[in-house]
């Protein structure tokens, strides 16, 4: 069955003598249009492929390949699938599960939109029905409230309801600075007082407690500890 030379095998194929031209009919190529050498190449390749498929199925190690039916049964051909257009045969495609991925994305969507949609609706309604403020000159003798210095209605609402007036924030900061300044001044004076008391020796901080001067025995003694 080995093709002796390219030309002879071409002649044989064109005659239809070889049994494996049935293989060629399985492909949808019109082999009359192709060149002879390409047909030989294609035949060789498809031969190899089918031979490999045959060998896999026919190996005695696989289950179902008992000695009785190895040679007698018909072998299913995987490369010869009938091509049908339109409503095809339903296939169960085996692939790893995407349940967890889809569940994650579904839950992400849900929790994102749970607050996202109300927020978007609120912002749309505020912008459409209430609208931004217009710039105006401060009228004579009128002190505007601190939230009336902002343009967008939501900013105004936040400034009115949640934040303190900026004057109060300023004063709070100034109070903190004042307290820290007083603390720093006190620490400096304390250091100065310690220094002076230690050097002059008359300050109460460096007095050492001793016994009453009336208890001192001033009589002459024979040894230091008597």
């Amino acid at each position: 069955m080995k093709p002796t030379s390219a030309s002879s095998s071409c002649a044989l194929i064109k005659d239809g003598r070889f049994g494996f031209t049935s293989l060629l009919t399985a492909h949808t190529y019109h082999w009359s249009e192709l060149g002879c050498s390409t047909i030989v190449a294609m035949v060789g390749m498809s031969l190899l492929r089918s031979a490999a498929a045959f060998a896999v199925r026919l190996s005695p190690l696989k289950s179902g390949n008992t000695a009785a039916n190895l040679l007698t049964r018909t072998i299913p051909r995987a490369d010869k699938v009938a091509v049908r257009w339109g409503h095809g045969k339903k296939m169960f495609v085996v692939k790893p599960t995407d349940y967890y991925d889809r569940r994650f994305l579904r839950l992400l969507q849900f929790y994102f939109l749970l607050t996202g949609i109300p927020v978007a609706v609120i912002i749309t309604f505020v912008n459409v029905f209430i609208g931004e403020a217009e710039m105006a000159e401060i009228p004579e003798g009128y002190e505007p409230e601190y939230w009336e210095y902002y343009k967008h209605p939501i900013t105004r609402w936040i400034a009115r309801t949640i934040y303190d007036t900026p004057v109060k924030d300023y004063e709070k900061m100034m109070a903190v600075i004042q307290i820290e300044k007083e603390k720093a001044d006190m620490r400096l004076t304390e250091l100065e007082v310690r220094r002076l008391m230690r050097t002059r020796g008359d300050g109460p901080w460096f007095h050492v407690p001793t016994i009453h001067k009336g208890l001192i025995d001033n009589s002459p003694k024979s040894s230091p500890d008597n």
């Binding site: 209430i130 100034m174 600075i177």
Partner: protein
Amino acid sequence: MPADFDKEAYPKPPRQTPVADKQTALPNPALILSKLFYYSVDLPVTTFRGVVDSIRAQNRSVYYHQKFRRVPDLTECVHGDYLCYYEAEMQWRRDFKVDQEIVKVIQERMRACQQREGHSYEQNCSKEIEQFNEVSNSYMSRYGDLGAYSSGRKCLMKQKERMMAAQAQSAI
């Protein structure tokens, strides 16, 4: 609607629409398309805008431009008076923001001029370009490389360096 812009700063370019001179009996496709666009897009959008404006007219509110009192500068503060330092610092920050906005306005004017004049902007917008150069140079010399942690004190020190450099320059 917000207040109208300054008409002298952004002058309108001269109109360039040609006079209509119809010489054929065929319909003008440009006219047809423009009418189509008007009725399908322009009119619905304008009516919607009118509806929304009429709703907004009931809830009109105003906002004002806050004016701050001037407080003593950093140079007028007694040494160790941290409250005076804080007030001067806040005032310096407000002035910094105002200067940034001034530069932005001048830049916007120059960009509008360039857009208006097209390819001949270099000679027609020379006033705006010169104004922008002057303003941005003075901004850079005052606030230039102060960095992210800029403060009134650092700006004052930069001014001192500038004055020293100017003095050294004039002494030479």
